[in-house]
């Protein structure tokens, strides 16, 4: 066992947060804390890239394993990654510095606390993606509630208190059942170690209830219809950096959870509940797309579009095909980039106009041409136009779905059209048309920092749109392994019957 690179990834932002929290704040100290936070999160990003470099995609097993006795004889601290989790870690490490850069204009007060919250959030989320023990996973998964609650509640908009409470209580309610399930797994099998459980397999008769308990947690977090209502509120009220974190990473924790736990641990139950997932996903895709069409608030529209996109993700996961699962992961990464970019873009105009209502905008193209261009890229990314990363994900998911069921895939395809409708209509109303208000004329175009952040997002969206290979090849073997494990379990179960 060499250098504990995963633990360093988890600990580094945490140490940075502690350091910033205890540093004395002078008049200009906020700048120092900001640079420090940026430095910490950026070095974390470099470290994660280095991890990707070291990572061997041809091995199906978990790599970079670290194991440490924690609660003696009960739970071990165990982390490790495979081709699925590494991408999420890199995404997290990539988004966090962007959030920190973006606080410049969006966070007006208590900057230091905000940076602490973001860094703590980062370390918890990286922890979620690399923990290989159910209890450790739960710890990171739930721990994220605390900083996010504060981010929404302290720096949010007008209805921040309501949204923060809703976010917290919804997710907590979903998760407590998962805790019961985790404890039950411990008593059924004698371990909460995921690799051990993968090999052992859980008795089919327990799987259904356990699956439902995990589902209750992930469904809230994904969010799936009908428990998605916290998301628009939380997104709308959170400050820009908070929305970015929520959309780009927090939602992915549930998708990741579905792949790692629901499919990995309870294959038989997953097979059994496929219809449920399909129905909920299709409702999410169609219904929330229609809801998104009617939104007047930009952030709310993007929030609803997130629900629809995550509907594609859950659909893809439960096709249990190579394409479907790869597509889901790709879609999650892509959505992480695109939604982060869209929220940052909304943040840009919100800073200038202090309104998010679509009707207040119009005609930005002549005032802010650069902004219009980047927003175009992001809109097309959200629509899933070929050449952007959004396309690859949706396309793969639909291929996977067609293999399973024509009807489901056909209905899901309608969602693609709807997403084009609401996104392009949003773009049209904001960017084109007449200039209705005089204030718009005074709006300056993107400044250098904004161009820098947004172009950092434009690059991967287009790059992965044309050349998805790096991501796909990283996940390929792990997914093959997962599907193989799934199929053997299903066949075994059939034989037993």
């Amino acid at each position: 066992m060499g250098f504990p690179i995963l633990s360093s990834l988890i600990l580094l932002p945490l140490l940075g947060a502690i350091f910033i929290f205890f540093s004395k704040s002078k008049s200009n100290a906020h700048l120092t804390s900001k640079y420090l936070a940026l430095f910490v999160s950026f070095s974390n990003f470099i470290l994660s890239l280095y991890l990707w470099h070291l990572f061997d995609p041809s091995i199906a097993e978990f790599q970079f394993l670290e194991e440490q006795s924690w609660i003696k004889g009960f739970v071990n601290y165990k982390v490790g990654i495979d081709g699925i989790s590494i991408l999420f870690i890199i995404l997290t490490a990539f988004i966090a510095p962007l959030c920190i850069v973006s606080v410049n204009s969006t966070v007006k007060y208590r900057l230091k606390d905000f940076l602490v919250a973001i860094l703590v959030m980062e370390s918890l989320m990286i922890g979620v993606f690399c923990s290989l023990d159910l209890v450790i996973f739960y710890l990171f998964f739930e721990g994220g509630l605390i900083p996010m609650f504060l981010i929404i509640g302290i720096w949010g908009g007008e209805r921040r208190v309501y949204s923060a409470f809703k976010f917290f209580l919804y997710t907590l309610l979903g998760s407590v059942l998962m805790l019961v399930a985790i404890i039950s797994i411990y008593w059924i099998t004698g371990s909460t170690d995921i690799t051990y459980l993968y090999n052992l397999g859980i008795d089919a008769k327990y799987q259904y209830l356990l699956w439902l308990a995990f589902f209750s947690s992930f469904a809230v977090k994904t969010p799936m219809w009908p428990v998605h209502t916290w998301l628009p509120d939380a997104h709308v009220e959170a400050p820009t950096a908070g929305s970015v974190l929520l959309a780009a990473i927090l939602l992915k924790m549930a998708g990741y959870g579905f792949i790692r736990f629901s499919v990995g641990l309870f294959p038989i139950a997953s097979e059994y509940f496929i219809p449920l997932i399909y129905i909920l996903s299709l409702i999410a895709i169609i219904y929330t797309s229609l809801v998104a069409l009617m939104q007047e608030d930009m952030k709310k529209l993007i929030a609803y579009s997130s629900v629809a996109h995550m509907g594609f993700v859950t659909l893809g996961i439960f096709t249990f095909t190579q394409q479907g699962l790869e597509g889901s992961i790709f879609q999650m990464i892509s959505h992480g980039l695109v939604s982060a970019a869209l929220f940052l873009s909304v943040g840009v105009v919100y800073e200038r106009m202090h309104t998010r209502l679509i009707s207040n905008y119009g005609g930005l193209v002549s005032i802010m041409p650069k902004y219009a261009i980047v927003l175009m890229v992001f809109t097309l990314g959200a629509v899933g136009l070929p050449g952007t990363s959004g396309f690859i994900g949706e396309f793969l998911i639909l291929i996977g779905a067609f293999k399973k069921s024509f009807l489901v895939a056909a209905i899901a395809s309608i969602g693609v059209i709807l997403s084009a409708a609401y996104m392009l209509w949003l773009y049209k109303r904001v960017v084109f048309g007449e200039i209705k208000k005089d204030e718009i004329k005074k709006m300056p175009d993107l400044n250098r920092a904004e161009i820098f952040i947004l172009s950092l997002l434009v690059l991967p969206i287009i790059f992965f749109g044309f050349y998805p290979e790096p991501l796909l090849s990283t996940t390929e073997i792990s997914i093959e392994n997962l599907i193989e494990m799934y199929n053997t379990n299903i066949n075994l179960n059939l034989v037993e019957k």
Binding site: S69, I71, F74, I146, L172, I183
Partner: protein, 471 residues
């Protein structure tokens, strides 16, 4: 000749109490001195406990007094919390002018009573200990004589507590009548499965004990007494009697009455569920922090009882872990309350916390940690407390208890969040004073660090408690 050296710690405290009384009589203005001496004497008592091997198990005085790992652990816990309580409240009692010599002496005598309770292996001795601690507590509750709320709470506590003691005594007499002995070991031997008299006796005893730990439906006194008593007494109420009562609960249920577990298990489960739900729901509407923490402590006792209801060693251990962790959370919470002082006045309403985070970042952060921990959010220590409890509960396949318990944590999270909202999201108010006694700072720092960083190395506490094997 009985080996007296095993109870040196109790004897030492009794002698200290008498000595302090003498000092108080002969020396003018000695309250400050006696207060500090009391803290020292608790340290001495702790040292005496540690001077004996911890693993011994002896029964003294015709098997009526038991020193074993459980009693030793609970006593250490008790005295530690006694020390912290005294350390943190020294300035408070000066400012609200209840720094009489009797105050620390009453606390010490109550501690002696609790130590007797914890070690008792006989119904009579148990009752003596219980009354010693209760009588001291009645006086302590009404110690702030000029305050009408304090007097009311003392009286209320006295009347209700006397009633519950009566029930308890009646239960004891029934047990004696049907088993022919007051000694726990002998009761256990003579226990008859099918005797209604024994069942009634057990129910009465459980009632009396449930009153002491304020489990629903015997909780009515708690909110008023918590609110009315001086805060320095409330913190005492919130921690020490619960430790002692839980120890006795374990001893009584699992030594004499283990054979009839079918008959009392369902009662404990009911007490537990009722307390968890009631504590969570009733606290939502509260405005006074002390009152709110009273309801919250009702809920927390529900979780401790859930562990107790399992009938396994693991369940007992989880309950003891819970109370050990709960102690530090409560301690930290009250330390924060002691810091809300402005112009010689203490503030105890939720609205007084408004915008606290602006001017008191460290204090607010401690409160934040404590409240999230009380709500049971990982990775704070409160989560582990609940986690151990539910591990034990699920082991016995009591899923409904586990699910109700966890759902009530979600309800309870709401009111903890409400306080956090006031601290962090609301507009700021005037600054509170920042000069606090060093003891208070130490207590707060210690408990906050424990709450925050327990997750890094959770094994030691488990390993210590794992050695408690009653069954």
């Amino acid at each position: 000749m009985i080996n007296l050296n095993f109870i040196y710690s109790e004897i030492f405290l009794c002698l200290a109490i008498m000595l302090f009384l003498l000092i108080g009589v002969f020396k003018k203005n000695s309250s400050y001195l006696i207060y500090n001496l009391s803290i020292l004497s608790l340290f001495g008592c702790l040292a005496l406990i540690f001077s004996f091997p911890i693993n011994i198990s002896v029964e003294l005085f015709n098997n009526s007094y038991k020193i074993d790992y459980l009693s030793t652990y609970m006593k250490i816990l008790l005295i530690l919390s006694g020390i912290f309580v005294l350390l943190s409240s020294s300035k408070y009692i000066q400012i609200i002018k209840i720094n009489k010599i009797e105050y620390p002496i009453l606390i010490l005598s109550s501690v002696v009573g609790m130590m007797v309770m914890i070690s008792s292996n006989d119904l009579i001795l148990f009752y003596i200990g219980l009354e010693l601690q209760s009588l001291s507590l009645y006086v302590l509750a009404s110690f702030n004589r000029d305050n009408i709320l304090s007097s009311e709470s003392g009286l209320k506590y006295f009347v209700l507590s006397a009633l519950s003691s009566g029930l308890l005594l009646y239960g004891c007499s029934l047990i004696y009548g049907f088993s022919g002995s007051t000694n726990f070991n002998l009761i256990s031997e003579n226990m008859n499965q099918n005797s209604y008299g024994v069942t009634f006796g057990v129910v009465f005893i459980i009632t009396g004990l449930a009153f002491k730990i304020s489990a629903v439906p015997f909780h009515m006194w708690a909110p008023d007494v918590y609110e009315g008593s001086p805060t320095s007494v409330t913190i005492f109420f919130a921690i020490l009697p619960k430790i002692a009562a839980l120890a006795v609960f374990i001893r009584i249920l699992y030594v004499p009455f283990l054979n009839i577990i079918d008959q009392w298990q369902i009662i404990i489960v009911f007490l537990s569920i009722a307390s968890m739900l009631f504590g969570a729901i009733a606290a939502i509407g509260q405005k006074n922090l002390k009152r709110l923490i009273a309801y919250s402590s009702i809920g927390h006792m529900g979780y401790a009882l859930a562990g107790l209801s399992t009938g396994t060693n693991l369940g007992i251990q989880s309950s003891i872990t819970y109370i050990s962790i709960y102690l530090f959370m409560n301690l930290a919470f009250f330390c924060c309350l002691f810091m809300l002082r402005r112009d010689e006045k203490y503030f105890e309403n939720i609205e007084d916390l408004s915008g606290l985070s602006k001017n008191h970042p460290i204090l607010s952060f401690s409160l934040l940690i404590v409240l999230f921990s009380l709500a049971g959010i990982p990775p704070l220590v409160g989560f582990f407390a609940k986690f151990y409890i539910f591990t034990a509960v699920v082991e016995q396949s009591m899923y409904s208890l586990a699910i109700i318990g966890l759902l009530s944590t979600v309800i309870a999270a709401f009111y903890y969040l409400r306080i956090i909202k006031v601290i962090y999201f609301d507009p700021e108010k005037e600054i509170y004073e920042k000069n606090h006694s060093i003891g208070l700072k130490i207590s707060l720092a210690f408990s906050t660090i424990f709450i925050l960083f327990y997750f890094i190395y959770p094994s030691p506490l488990i390993e210590i408690i794992e050695k408690i094997n009653i069954i």
